[in-house]
Symmetry: C2
Subunit: 195 residues, 2 copies
Amino acid sequence: MAEHPYHHGDLRAALLKGAEHTLREKGASALSLRELARSIGVSHAAPSRHFKDKQALLDALALSGFQRLTLALRQAATDAGTQGELTALARAYVGFATGNPELLEVMYARKHDPNASEQLKEAVDQLVVAVVQPIADGQAAGDIVPGDTMSIAMVVAATLHGIASFAANGALTPEAVTGVLDDAVHHLLHGLTPR
Amino acid sequence: MAEHPYHHGDLRAALLKGAEHTLREKGASALSLRELARSIGVSHAAPSRHFKDKQALLDALALSGFQRLTLALRQAATDAGTQGELTALARAYVGFATGNPELLEVMYARKHDPNASEQLKEAVDQLVVAVVQPIADGQAAGDIVPGDTMSIAMVVAATLHGIASFAANGALTPEAVTGVLDDAVHHLLHGLTPR
DNA sequence: ACCTGAACACCGTTCAAGT
DNA sequence: ACCTGAACACCGTTCAAGT
């Protein structure tokens, strides 16, 4: 077994892992395919067998990000009670954002690009469902005002995303995030609760 | 007068104008200093006299963006009444976002970078004031619940920014934006209004 | 003071050729 | 099937030299 066998074994997985590491450490703009190949010990042309271009690699990272975020939201939303469920949802979303700020940017950069793959669009749809479902449940339980579910979900999603953006880019310190989050859920709910 | 006099005249302004045009048409990732210089008819090394590097050019664009956005918010917030003022504020913010999506990204990319210039930080502070002021006014008028103004402003700003992001990246169509916006202000206010 | 031209050290992408 | 090496057309940045 030589140090550098001709076939890497699983170059695709190594590229994804390395790329996410670079993303996390140095940001998307610092991601270079040539440097990535170099660090893995493969020629600069090798990645093209697995990802047709740089965007294809970023798309694969975004896809995995959407899948992981959706999973996290689903696991969070199993609490009982509308307020508890929304709070858990909000914390899961913002937790992901603070834990993976650069990945989130890559994800949102492709979110509604018409050139995105069907697979990516499907993953985005799943994420939307994970956010809309708790709202629909809350309406069914009478905890949230009746009305167009999508438009209410849009407002909730916008607030979550705004807080997540502020947290991801430093406008909000990690310590301040939880407080703002709980405030936001509280203020939103008291506007959404019938009385 | 030759076609290409040795001195451009106002190369700095030409660079800013050309860069913003490219930003608008093709996005930040497609902005190349060399191509910019070429389109202006100047050598590729000339821009460095006016902007030490590419980031310095982007910072100048961001600065101008923050100043224009702050001005737009100030002009919007002169309506009478808390609800009207917040609605106008929201529309102005989101209008800027849909009209200048790529510029907004450049602005937010630098928003809390510790390496940002003092001038840029000052412009960001002015923007924050423009958002916080109407909240404080609403509290003084008894239209908004008492409590920490900054934390309430944070929730409002997050919602605005979330809607603006969705509008800027296509998650929300231009036609849908106004409706979502008015819904958001309505839902937020009914949570913020004492009763 | 302002700009050019050449040079340096990088990129992403493509493609014949090798294993 | 998978990877290499060379080539092409770009980048951003720096710096002596020109006007």
